[in-house]
Symmetry: C2
Subunit: 176 residues, 2 copies
């Protein structure tokens, strides 16, 4: 039951609407947990009924800004400190990376690995953008450590992908 704690964690950093949470799941938290709005809104309602979050502001377009209550903050702390984390990861890219170098014909492996590399490069740019924006905003930068980790992991990922690509037997004909 981690969706709940991911939501609490994001709200602990700053209050947000369901819509904003959805976007945060897509960017800052994209390497950690995926959730769509159709999960987030019901979860907010459930958290409210348990007294863990509350509406602190309403805005245009019927938006509601949610914040942690003391109960929610304590639940988050409890989960972080008392509950041993489940190590059950689920990452489709990782499976593919696992399979590509060994099981595919070199030509196919090249396609798959190159696509992952392209993605990693694009993702790095997004992370760097977030990083700069935070730096520009100055002060708190609640995501800084997470972005930092994302950049470091991205770095080794790119290196590994390039190594795997380099280790593939050379294509005989085209050289691009």
């Amino acid at each position: 039951m981690s969706l709940r704690h991911a939501v609490l964690g994001l709200l602990a950093m700053e209050p947000a609407t369901g819509y904003e949470l959805t976007r945060k799941f897509d960017v800052s938290l994209s390497n950690a947990w995926h959730a769509s709005h159709s999960q987030i809104y019901p979860e907010l309602a459930k958290l409210e009924s348990e007294g863990m979050v509350e509406v602190v502001a309403t805005g245009a377009r019927n938006s509601r800004t949610w914040a942690l209550t003391p109960v929610g903050r304590e639940e988050l702390r409890r989960w972080m400190v008392d509950v041993a984390p489940s190590r059950a990861t689920r990452d489709e890219s990782a499976i593919r990376i696992f399979i590509a170098p060994r099981l595919l014909e070199p030509a196919d492996a090249r396609i798959a690995l190159q696509r992952d590399l392209d993605y990693a490069v694009a993702h790095r740019e997004i992370l760097e953008e977030i990083d700069e924006r935070q730096r520009a905003a100055g002060g708190t930068a609640p995501f800084a450590p997470a972005v930092d980790l994302g950049l470091r992991v991205n770095q080794v990922m790119q290196e590994w992908l390039r190594d795997q690509l380099a280790a593939l037997p050379a294509e005989p004909k085209s050289r691009r």
Copy 2:
């Protein structure tokens, strides 16, 4: 629907029983995809009914060894090459790492980060064991690239965790 392709991927490396697959999910694939036996056995049955896997041997204790059929192999290739990977990761540890440095009191953050570091250290040992065993077995080593990536990611993870721990305000009283 990645469980299916993870199973196909493992069977592509070498035939295995459901039980063996379960263990492989726990070790080699633990950083990529988690699945328990109660998912794996039904999936094997389903894959069989679709002609993607077949029983190639039966052993003691009613065990059945499964292998890919050409259909299964082609499906795996198709998925790897034609289907763009979903980037939807789900990793509870990552959420916690995301939350710990920023939202917890230094004392609590220390507990959470230290636990993750302990886990990373233990996990590194497991990876190194696998690595050595493969090296000893010589020859094919189908997991070698995956273990290599696991070790690299583990490395940056440990560095990052140590950095975060070091960045925490020092505990006033005890110094260990």
